[in-house]
């Protein structure tokens, strides 16, 4: 499922004195199979954009009341997720949500059911019109819980509120991926976790990316996290995607990123500091990639200053 967005705009509270235009023409493409990162300040429009992907926020053309006022030469915004055309009113948005799973920040705060298995099954039951058999539900729930690294038998009947923070988060993620969505979107998946917890969640996401959801999109503030994990990154600022590049190209633009008020990964800071001392380095900006590039310099394989 490829995601194509062109000239996407969105205004909150349109028509009232409190209106704010959060998106001012977003254009980007996410190919199937990417581990895509989205960064940007609070208020840059990244959360607004991401909520369009599963139809929580809608293009005006897909809502009932719409005055067709097209200026001369102004093109319509486009948003397509796989086969779904999100500008079309007739699109089946619930089917869309089955294929685009969304995990919000601190997802453990959305658990509500009496048992873990009921909570995970909630998503599944919502999306299937026919009543699923007990075995089907159990099988899907078990698969989801196991891929997030929990022991099905041990945890299925426990109350979600009796679990540790880390377990709760995993249950919440299981509840979203139980429908086997092709695209998984996560907003700050590692928020509030300690360093080991962060690493574990990222490992989980990579596992999901390999075995379960073809495309993974993460929204994050953590530049190091993005550099470490993503195949391509979109930088949101002022309601638009200013840059959409793979990390090794993006983080060479430290000046531009800093001008937007964003930070750069540690590896980029070191690369810049080395450049100022006459040492040129080319890496993919992951920690190990950076180390390899530095070592290569010493053995004379890298660029000479």
């Amino acid at each position: 499922m490829r995601i194509v967005a062109e000239r996407l705009t969105y205004t909150y509270n349109a028509g009232s004195p409190f209106r704010t235009t959060a998106l001012k023409g977003v254009t980007l493409t996410v190919e199937e199979g990417e581990f895509f990162g989205i960064i940007g300040h609070t208020g840059s429009g990244k959360s607004t954009f991401v909520q369009h992907l599963n139809g929580l926020l809608r293009l005006p053309s897909s809502l009932k009341r719409r005055k067709k006022r097209r200026k001369e030469g102004e093109e319509e915004p486009v948003l397509r997720v796989g086969e779904f055309d999100l500008s079309d009113r007739k699109t089946d948005f619930r089917a869309l949500r089955k294929s685009v799973g969304m995990v919000f920040q601190y997802p453990e705060y959305q658990l509500f059911a009496e048992s873990v298995k009921d909570d995970v099954a909630f998503g599944l039951k919502n999306f299937t019109k026919e009543k699923l058999s007990k075995e089907q539900i159990e099988s899907a729930v078990r698969d989801a819980l196991e891929i997030v690294g929990l022991d099905y038998r041990e945890i299925k009947d426990k109350s979600p509120f009796d679990l540790s923070g880390g377990q709760k988060r995993r249950v919440a993620i299981a509840g979203v991926i139980v429908t086997r969505p092709e695209v998984l979107v996560l907003d700050e998946p590692a928020a509030g976790l300690d360093p080991v917890g962060k690493q574990e969640i990222m490992n989980l996401l990579h596992r999901l990316h390999k075995e379960w959801c073809k495309t993974v999109i993460i929204v994050s503030h953590d530049m190091d996290e993005i550099a470490e994990n993503c195949t391509r990154v979109a930088v949101f600022a002022d309601g638009a995607a200013k840059y959409v590049l793979p990390p090794h190209e993006l983080f060479r633009k430290s000046e531009e990123l800093r001008a937007l008020g964003l930070d750069v990964p540690l590896t980029a800071k070191l690369t810049d500091a080395l450049k100022r001392r006459g040492v040129s380095l080319d890496s993919d900006f992951t920690t190990d990639g950076f180390i390899r590039a530095v070592i290569a310099l010493k053995t004379g394989e890298g660029e000479k200053p």
Binding site: H221, L266, L270, I291
Partner: protein, 277 residues
């Protein structure tokens, strides 16, 4: 006189399940101590015991000259301020000024003095312009600064920050870290910083590492970060830069165990240039 002193303290959340047993811990006046540890290691419990929000089962806890008892909690809490993790759940009022006044009102300060305390507190956290702002419209970092101001209005001698940056974005974290550093250096407030962000511990004079209710490492942050393998066993990791310098050392680079970007870059450059020059 020590600012905080834990002597032989034992504490159990549930019957028989002791988190702390015979814990000894102290903080000198004016120090900046970092408390590191994985989730569940007991670091937050330490903070709550120090302020009397939790009661130790055995042992003695002293704050300056007062031994923590039910009767003198009020006095102790005037000396110890705590800032918690969630920026939203610490304010009682909708307007910044009203919330900062809350603590001063609680200790029955006369109205004229409260105004002065609010001025001092807002200035110390750099939020003077927001005196009449609505708290709900502030960013996470700003909200936490207001929370700190609310605590400063009581002019505490000790400030405990219990993972106060965990829910903030990088900008917010920098704001708070800077405020805390200034409070320690300029206002001479004793600071106990509880965190799992290894980089924050670098500001401290001294750091301790907790694991399963025990203090397992003590020393300066630099000392502690040298003991990499040990840190891993306690479910902590090195700051990223420490990992880089360590790996480079293992590969023949003569770089020191520094945690500063410029210094490390300098040392790498020296290694590379001397080789090729």
């Amino acid at each position: 006189m020590k600012a905080i002193s834990f002597e032989d303290v034992s504490f159990a959340y549930e019957e028989g399940k002791y988190l702390f047993e015979h814990l000894n811990f102290s903080v000198e006046e004016g120090e900046f101590v970092a408390v590191l540890g994985h989730n569940g290691s007991g670091k937050s419990t330490l903070a709550r015991l120090a302020d009397g929000l939790l009661v130790a089962d055995k042992g003695e806890i002293r704050v300056f000259d007062k031994t923590l008892k039910d009767k003198n909690l009020y006095e102790v809490r005037k000396m110890v301020g705590i800032v918690f993790q969630n920026p939203d759940n610490q304010t009682v009022a909708s307007i910044v000024e009203d919330d900062v006044a809350f603590g001063a009102e609680n200790v029955a300060l006369p109205r004229e003095e409260i105004g002065g305390r609010i001025d001092f507190a807002l200035k110390a956290v750099g939020m003077e312009e927001y005196r009449n702002a609505a708290v709900s419209r502030l960013s996470g970092g700003q909200k936490q600064r207001v929370a700190i101001a609310g605590v400063l209005a009581l002019k505490p001698r000790i400030m405990i920050l219990d993972e106060s940056t965990a829910m903030l974005d990088p900008r917010g974290r920098r704001e708070i870290t800077e405020v805390v550093r200034r409070l320690n250096k300029e206002e001479h407030i004793t600071v106990v910083l509880i965190t799992h962000f290894m980089e924050e511990a670098l500001l401290a004079d001294r750091a301790i590492v907790m694991n399963k209710g025990e203090i397992v490492m003590k020393g300066t942050p630099a000392d502690i970060f040298e003991r990499h393998e040990e840190l891993l066993t306690y479910n902590l990791s090195l700051p990223r830069i420490g990992y880089i310098s360590k790996t480079l050392r293992e590969n023949g680079f003569g770089v020191n165990d520094t945690l500063d970007v410029e210094t490390l870059a300098e040392e790498i450059a020296n290694c590379v240039l001397s080789r090729n020059g």
